[in-house]
Symmetry: C2
Subunit: 263 residues, 2 copies
DNA sequence: CAGGAGTTACTGGTCTGGCCAGTAATGAGA
DNA sequence: TCTCATTACTGGCCAGACCAGTAACTCCTG
């Protein structure tokens, strides 16, 4: 009840001073979001911008550094054909934000794996129900390459594995899921690598993994989203369970299998 | 097959020049991630850092602007007690990244709503299966306040609604899901507001919404995750369907209801 | 005439040194 | 003892300079 405050009274917002560079960042961001600046186009040079924005060069540089850190533009020294170039979207920044989240929220590996199970499970479900013929062909092809890569060692296998998952992610027709997937995969990889260096170079492990992927693919072909999602979740916990404390792993196993019906 | 390249040969990475400010950003980021710098602690003043990093003030300022833009630190003019202060985690930056993603990937509202259905559905599932007694009490309490807020107009109602969803998100025990939820909610709100200004001030709408939330809560109490998740998804499409083209809305309705079994 | 190498006119990367404005602790006055 | 001005810091900006890359241009050579 405390929050009575305003029903339709003017609603005020905390007023922070707006620094010069923030104003610049905002203007350029807006222009990009509005589509007035498209990837590939170039900003004016720094010295030109000092004139347009009526600020000094250090200030426009601060703005550019911020834009660059969020991946919107990229500057290159000595590029006489113009200023910073507007970049196409890249999930890098999203991954950085989410990595920060994981670190600062003290999420542990189990949390992230659970999250990935949700994201990848949903992705696989959608891939099963939404895929086109062409995408199906690509998935089949990717799996064929996966099988072939076993002989070339676990590094090649892991590359082929990523590709396989990417074809699935694309068939789900959701850019958000695709990026979340990439990001979560990266975060998990980070955590694992920092925990202990593992080498799944055992050929048997690769064969198992490949066989499991084949089952997922079978469910996708049958457009059986439920089964595909469940198998994908089970694969994940099978794969990462050994890095988790036994109790969490057991619970996640239940979460993966006994719960066909979440979303 | 083209990717043969290296089996276990040294794997090279594209070499970009590392600018001075990037090195500073990285060092401070690492210190924060490693926990050597905790929220509330302060960095040295800019002039001190010029000495420690052996660079000029504009350079350390660029680094600070980048760190500030990702929400890790905050500077305040005239604060004689030290330099920039390390901030606790905030999802703002994640929301910004995801907003950028939505804009640049040309995801439309339907994509985002589908994404939210997945995230919020999973959250609700976990809240049903994982909640403690105390959290349950909080959810019940939040729903009581929601019902009471109807009389106070749709602004109060929408605030109470957010609170209700937050109690659910907390009961799911997943920081990642909670933040994704917040972020997705914000993004949807952005898109809707830019599409058309809607006022669901009709008391009937609020009563409906409240009744639906009650059904979700019932499923949570019964620890029936499947039903809770399905109801949550259906609520979402009921709520946002009118902003979507009819065909997409229909498909999402199917996605919400007929698919108990994703993850 | 064509092609390659040096010149040149830009670019961003960085530094120096400075001024102003805000903040908070300090110390002097009531 | 309390209040208020002083002071010594802070960050926010600016001006101007130098260096180092890049790419276009030009000129010289074959």
């Amino acid at each position: 009840m405390q929050h009575e405050a305003s029903a339709d009274r003017p609603t005020f917002i905390p007023a922070r001073p707006v620094r010069a560079y923030e104003s610049i960042v905002r203007q350029i961001e807006d222009a990009i979001y509005r589509g007035e600046l498209r990837p590939g186009q170039r900003l004016p040079s720094e010295r030109e911008m000092t004139a347009q924005f009526a600020v000094s060069r250090p200030t426009v540089r601060e703005a550019l550094r911020v834009l660059e850190s969020s991946g919107l533009v990229r500057s290159r020294q000595g590029d006489a054909t113009g200023g910073a170039k507007v970049q196409p979207f890249s999930p890098d920044n999203l991954r950085r934000s989410m990595t920060a989240l994981v670190h600062l929220e003290q999420s542990d590996l189990a949390d992230v794996v659970q999250f990935r199970m949700i994201i990848e499970g949903s992705t696989t479900y959608l891939a099963a129900t939404e895929h086109t013929e062409e995408e199906l062909a690509r998935m089949l092809d990717a799996h064929k390459r996966l099988a072939a890569s076993i002989a070339r060692g676990h590094e090649a296998f892991s590359r082929a594995d990523v590709e396989f998952h990417q074809t699935i992610a694309e068939a789900a027709h959701s850019g958000l899921l695709r990026v979340c997937n990439e990001v979560a995969r990266g975060v998990v990889a980070n955590l694992i690598e920092s925990k202990l260096s593992f080498t799944s170079d055992s050929e048997q492990l690769m064969r198992d993994s490949c066989a499991r992927h084949e089952r997922v693919l079978g469910a996708i072909v049958a457009r059986d989203g439920e089964t595909a999602a469940r198998l994908a979740r089970e694969d994940m916990i099978d794969h990462f369970g050994r890095f988790l404390p036994e109790e969490r792993a057991a619970r996640l196993r239940v979460f993966a299998s006994r719960v066909p019906p979440i979303l």
